[in-house]
Amino acid sequence: MFGFGDIMAAALGLILTWDRDLSEIVLLSLRVTLTAVAVACLIGLPLGAVVGAFRFRGRGTVTVLLNALMGLPPVVVGLFVYLMLSNAGPLGVLGLLYTPTAMIIAQTILVTPIVAALTKQVVEDLHGEYAEQFSSFGLSARARVSALLWDARYSLLTVALAGFGRAVAEVGAVLIVGGNINHVTRVMTTTIALETSKGNLELALALGLLLLGLAVIVNAAVMTLRASAVRAAYA
C-alpha cells in the first residue's frame, strides 16, 4: 500500500522545502539530547568508574541496580518527572513543566544509568590490567579514577554514543514532561508521533529518516574526532 518511493520522496521534499519550523524541531531535539547526554556523562562516568575500579560493600547491589535501570521505560521516567515537576508536586514552584529543561531532566535520568553501567564495565576490564601498577605506584583513589577514565576515553566515546542513541530515539518521556507544544517543546520524535496520529504516515516516516540521518551525522562526527585524536596520540 505504501511505496518506499513515496516515503523517500516525502523525505527529500522535507529537506528541499526545509523551513524554520523544521529547523526549530531539529535544533531542539539536538539541544535537549546533547545536553542530557553531557549531564549524564558528568554524573555517569565518575560513578561508573568508581564502581568499576573499587571493591566495597554493596558493590554487587549497585551493579545490579545500574544494569536494571538501563531498562527504564521512558514513559515511566516521564511520569516520575511529571509528578516531581507538576504544580501539585514537590518541585512545582520551579515552573519547569512543559519546558525543554524538563525534557533534559527526563532524558538525563534515562541515560545516566546506561553511561554508568557501560563505564563500569569498561573501567573494570581496564583496571584488571592496571591494578598492580597502581598499587606499586601507591596512587590515590582519585588519581586511579582519573587515569582509568583518561586511558579508556576512546571506549567511553562509544558509551556516550549509546546514551545519545537512547535519548534521541525516545518519545515517551519527552511527550509527557514537554507536552509536545508547538514552537516550545516539539522535538523530532514527538512530531513523528503526532504526524502518525494525524494519519500522515509518509510524512512521519520521512521525519524518521531525517532523525536517522541526524544520528548518523552525530555518530560520524564523534568517530572522526576520535580517529584524529588517536592519530594525534600516536603520531
Binding site: 500500500m1 539541544r31 545536553t35 553531557a38 549531564v39 558528568l42 554524573i43 565518575p46 560513578l47 568508581v50 507538576s86 504544580n87 501539585a88 508536586g89 512545582g92 515552573g95 519547569l96 513543566l97 512543559y98 519546558t99 525543554p100 529543561t101 533534559i104 531532566i105 538525563t108 583513589a141 582519585r142 579514577v145 507536552g179 509536545n180 507544544i181 508547538n182 516550545v184 503526532l194 502518525t196 496520529s197 494525524k198 494519519g199 500522515n200 504516515l201
Partner: protein, 274 residues
C-alpha cells in the same frame, strides 16, 4: 573523587538554568486540551489570531480528555478545553475550575470498511447500529483511554444495553491510544471505529474507509472551556487565561472557529452562549 558527582550536579543545574533562560518568552498560557482539536488543525487556525490580538502566546498540551482534566487538577494548565460535559461539570463542582462555558460542537460518526460486514451503512440510529455490530461480532476498535470520545462511546454502548467490554480482546478491541492511532489501527484490521467528525475529515490515512453511521442526535459532541481556578491553584495566570476564554466565546473567536474548513467542510460549529 566524590567531589565529581557534586560538581556534575552543579554543572547540570547551571546548564538547565541556562536553557530555561534562553527559553524565556513573553506572556504565555498553557491550555490543556484534546487530541481532536489539535489533530484536526483547529488550533493552528485560530491561535495565531488570538496571539496577534493580545500578544499572549498559547501553549497547547493535547492529550485525551481524561489526562487533560487530571493535569489541570494538578494545576498544570491555565485553561481546560475539552469535550466531556459530565467530567467538566464535576471538575468545576470540585472547585478546580471557575466556570464552564459551551464553545462549539461537532458530532461523532462511525466509520467502517466499504464491505460493511455488519450491514450498518446508512443507518442513523447509532444504538441500533451498535447492536448489529455486537450481534455480528464484527471487529470494533475502541479508544479505551478515558478520553471524551471514549466516554461518549461507552455511554452509547450502555444505551444499547451491551456489555462490550466483556468481548474485549475478541471483536471489541481497546487500543488505549489517541483518536488518530485508533483510526490507524482500526482501518488496518477492518474494524468499525467511533470518531469525531473533525478528526475523520482531517485524517490522512483513511484508506477506503467511509462514514457508515451519522446523524443521530445522540452523537452530538459538545466542547467546553474552563478557566482553572486560581483560588485553588495560585500559579494559574488568571488574567491571561480569562482573556483567552473571553476571546474564544466572543463573536470574533466564534467566527474564527466557524471559519476553519478542511476540503471545504466546516469542522466545528460555534455555540457559545447557547
Amino acid at each position: 573523587m566524590f567531589r565529581y558527582p557534586l560538581l556534575s550536579l552543579a554543572l547540570g543545574a547551571v546548564l538547565a538554568l541556562g536553557t530555561t533562560g534562553a527559553q524565556a518568552q513573553d506572556e504565555f498560557i498553557v491550555v490543556q486540551s484534546t487530541t481532536s482539536t489539535l489533530n484536526s488543525g483547529l488550533f493552528e487556525h485560530i491561535l495565531p489570531l488570538f496571539e496577534e490580538k493580545t500578544g499572549i502566546e498559547v501553549r497547547v498540551v493535547a492529550v485525551g480528555t481524561g489526562q487533560a482534566i487530571r493535569n489541570a487538577m494538578n494545576g498544570d494548565g491555565d485553561v481546560l478545553f475539552v469535550h466531556a460535559r459530565p467530567a467538566e461539570e464535576k471538575f468545576v463542582a470540585e472547585g478546580h475550575g471557575v466556570a464552564r462555558f459551551d464553545v462549539m460542537y461537532n458530532d461523532f460518526v462511525i466509520v467502517g470498511p466499504p464491505s460493511d460486514p455488519a450491514g450498518v451503512a446508512g443507518m442513523t440510529d447509532v444504538v441500533a447500529a451498535l447492536s448489529k455490530i455486537a450481534e455480528a461480532e464484527v471487529p470494533f476498535a475502541s479508544r479505551g483511554d478515558d478520553s471524551g470520545t471514549h466516554k461518549a462511546e461507552l455511554r452509547l454502548w450502555k444505551e444499547a444495553g451491551i456489555d462490550a467490554q466483556a468481548a474485549s480482546g475478541g471483536w471489541y478491541r481497546e487500543t488505549g491510544s489517541g483518536m488518530g492511532a485508533t483510526l490507524n489501527t482500526g482501518t488496518s484490521m477492518g474494524a468499525y471505529v467511533l470518531t469525531d467528525r473533525a478528526t475523520w475529515i482531517a485524517f490522512g490515512n483513511k484508506g477506503d474507509y467511509e462514514i457508515a453511521v451519522e446523524g443521530d442526535p445522540r452523537m452530538f459532541n459538545q466542547y467546553g472551556i474552563i478557566l482553572v481556578n486560581p483560588g485553588k491553584h495560585p500559579n494559574v495566570k488568571a488574567q491571561a487565561g480569562q482573556a483567552f476564554v473571553d476571546w474564544v466565546l466572543s463573536p470574533e473567536g466564534q467566527a474564527a472557529i466557524a471559519g476553519y474548513k478542511v476540503d471545504g467542510q466546516q469542522l466545528f460549529f460555534p455555540n457559545a452562549g447557547g
